[in-house]
């Protein structure tokens, strides 16, 4: 029987694994991206391709070593080269002598037949249409549970009394959600997970800063690709709110634009009325929405050479000035040294804290 694998993005693999197994497939869970993944990816990818292409290339090669022979992934429309990556990966893997099969999901609202055909291919158990819908719904609920837990961890971490407890508990509760199978079990595991995080000893959070994270989807969703930036910020006493989660992205791309998406597009319109590919427009729109909600700062993260994010980075200084909100941009590539990033994050935190205190009229301007 064929063995399936898929791109790894954060913790969502737990839900994908369940869904693909429910349809009767043998699944190889791709390993968490490591230095080796990066080495493999860089060796076999075009030099000027972006980081997501390279990490995924490495991930696929590692999954193939583990026995995978079919890759399930997404395609894409619009002016971002990531839309071609499935095809490119397939060709590169073939050149390397790996005879693998690729199942590529395009946005279903534009390509409904592609969706039906792919589901048909993956439906090894010959489950009824109603059964498939039930499986998808349950998988979807699991992704939601994972996203909700992660969101809460971002709020608790900067408030924890003992450094590292949130991360530790978060790792534990992920396993609870992972083990849950029926919808009821998933909902119960989710409540237990949220409760476990909420009940951690915390301080009053008076000094906690709020930062909105915007940028390109892959580096936002896979912590291994952004050197665990969200955790680092949490440890510096910063609550992060990420503008993108898999649940939101999927909703926007399956049926029709959600209200949230429309709000973001509308907010971005005075600065960027066009779709520039990837999530360039969302970066601008979300920055504005965060500023309006009184956030202390914005961090944009993007792969080096990412055109949509380069476009938005050029516009962000103006948004920053108009809305009086500091913005820090990181372009990520193969570097694994964290020193440069830590320095910038620390300095950015100092800046926001001083700004906040001076607004509140509190004495010392130097942190």
């Amino acid at each position: 029987m064929s063995k399936l694998t898929f791109p790894r993005m954060g913790e969502s693999w737990r839900a994908f694994k369940m869904l693909l197994e429910d349809l009767g497939n043998d699944v190889v869970v791709p390993p968490r991206p490591s230095k080796r993944t990066l080495d493999l990816g860089v060796r076999y990818s075009p030099e000027f391709a972006c980081l997501p292409l390279k990490i995924l290339m490495g991930t696929y090669l590692e999954a193939i070593e583990m026995g995978a022979d079919t890759i399930v992934t997404t395609g894409g429309v619009g002016p971002c080269r990531a839309g071609e990556y499935a095809l490119l990966h397939h060709k590169m893997l073939k050149d390397l002598g790996h005879d693998i099969k690729m199942v590529v999901f395009e946005p279903p609202r534009i390509y409904p037949f592609n969706f039906i055909k792919n589901v048909w291919t993956l439906n090894k158990n010959h489950t009824s249409v109603r059964g498939i819908i039930a499986h998808i719904k349950r998988g979807w609920r699991k992704v939601q549970a994972l996203d909700n837990t992660e969101k809460l961890s971002h709020i608790i971490r900067p408030r924890e009394l003992s450094r590292g407890t949130t991360t530790k508990v978060y790792q534990q509760v992920l396993e609870w959600i992972d083990c849950a199978y029926t919808t009821k079990q998933i909902i119960d595991a989710e409540s237990a997970a949220l409760e476990a995080l909420r009940s951690l000893p915390q301080h009053n959070g008076q000094d906690v800063l709020r930062v909105g994270i915007v940028g390109e989807i892959y580096v936002l969703l896979e912590p291994a690709s952004n050197l665990e930036m969200e955790e680092t910020l949490g440890n510096l006493g910063v609550e992060v709110e990420r503008s993108m989660f898999l649940t939101g992205w999927t909703r926007d791309n399956t049926w029709k634009d959600t209200t949230e998406r429309k709000t973001v597009t509308e907010a971005a319109a005075p600065y960027l009325p066009e779709l520039v590919g990837g999530h360039g427009r969302d970066t601008i729109g979300n920055t504005i929405l965060y500023a309006k909600r009184g956030f202390d700062g914005i961090i944009q993260i993007a792969p080096f050479t990412c055109i949509p994010e380069i476009v938005s980075r050029t516009i962000l200084p103006r948004v920053s000035r108009d809305y009086d909100i500091p913005v820090l941009t990181f372009f990520l590539d193969e570097q694994t040294g964290k020193a440069g990033m830590s320095t910038r994050l620390e300095a950015f935190t100092d800046l926001m804290r001083r700004k906040k205190r001076s607004k509140l009229g509190q004495g010392s301007l130097i942190v």
Binding site: F304, K338, E346
Partner: protein, 316 residues
């Protein structure tokens, strides 16, 4: 008399400052890192201990720069701060109304925007070291000109030569092309200074409002060619503080002073200059990250560890 010690461990230089209670520099040292920060910190402290008057008592220590954690554990720092904050603090001490700070060091360059005494924005060079001290050093060596004369030569230029500033590789090949066409060295060097300034303002200073007073600090501020190029490009005067090359250390000392207040310092004393330090490293096999953990030993005791992505090795 109380004084405060500031240590800035950069890629190219290590600076040590002893600052009086009044904020005056009693001793300021600028030493080359030469890839051996541990030895140079020890050597620097030995020299500093010789220079300071005997009635001085070190009441607080601060460290900054890319080697700040290393210096921090070695000397027992009261405050370990990033270089952006340290430079901003030092600039405000010298020029309380400062609105813009240009800082160009060995490996990185930054711009800091201050309004009403607080940092409102900053940026650092991202993916390229073009326009930093190391590149100027390298080009000076290639042209066989002492780096100290680089600026003077640039000012002797009478004909503009355009050099690409976007990337050091482009800049170097452009410089070689112009040299082989027969352009004079001063003109090429001036072209390089202008290219670096153009790249800095365009890349690091992108979209920032550069308002005077402008302070230019860091090792590269010694180069009057760069200062002139900045003034030409901006049409505004650029000030170079007296202690331009040790501003980070001054800021660190000042931060230590505020941190300690009337409390006790964690400073281990100048005796550490005589202690043996060594570093070791190993790969952690706890997970697929395979982090390379670096340890520093003082005599036979581990005093610090770095490189871990999780907190597993944080406890010493």
């Amino acid at each position: 008399m109380k004084a405060y010690l500031g240590i800035d461990v950069g890629s190219v230089s290590i600076n040590i400052v002893v600052l009086s209670e009044a904020g005056e520099v009693i001793t300021g040292l600028y030493l080359r890192t030469m890839g051996r920060p541990v030895q140079v910190i020890q050597e620097g402290l030995r020299q500093a201990a010789e220079y300071i008057p005997p009635d001085i008592e070190i009441a607080g220590v601060g460290s900054t720069g890319s080697g700040r954690y290393l210096a921090g554990v070695m000397v027992g720092a009261d405050v370990v701060k990033n270089e952006i904050t340290a430079h901003a603090v030092a600039a405000s001490m010298i020029e309380p109304d400062v609105q813009t700070v240009f800082e160009i060091g060995g490996q990185d360059s930054k711009i800091i925007i201050l309004r009403n005494g607080i940092v409102t924005d900053f940026a650092m060079n991202t993916v390229c070291a073009a326009g930093t001290g190391s590149f100027l050093d390298q080009q000076a060596a290639r042209l066989d000109i002492p780096i100290t004369q680089f600026g003077d030569l640039a000012l002797q230029s009478c004909q503009p030569v355009r050099i690409a500033g976007r990337c050091t590789v482009f800049a170097e090949s452009d410089m070689i092309h112009k040299q082989q066409m027969g352009h004079q060295i001063p003109d090429i060097i001036n072209g390089l200074c202008e290219a670096l300034v153009r790249n800095y303002l365009n890349n690091v200073g992108k979209g920032k409002e550069v308002l005077p007073p402008i302070l230019f600090q860091g090792g590269v501020a010694a180069n009057i060619g760069i200062k002139a190029a900045f003034e030409k490009a901006l049409g505004k005067p650029v000030l170079i503080p007296k202690h331009y090359d040790i501003m980070g250390a001054i800021g660190a000392a000042q931060l230590a002073r505020e941190e300690v207040g009337n409390g006790a310092t964690k400073f281990k004393g100048f005796k550490i200059t005589g202690l043996p330090y060594r570093t070791g490293s190993f790969e952690c096999d706890g997970c697929s990250n395979v982090c390379e953990i670096v340890e520093i030993y003082e005599e036979d005791k581990v005093i610090g560890r770095w490189g871990s992505r999780c907190s597993k090795w944080d406890i010493i």
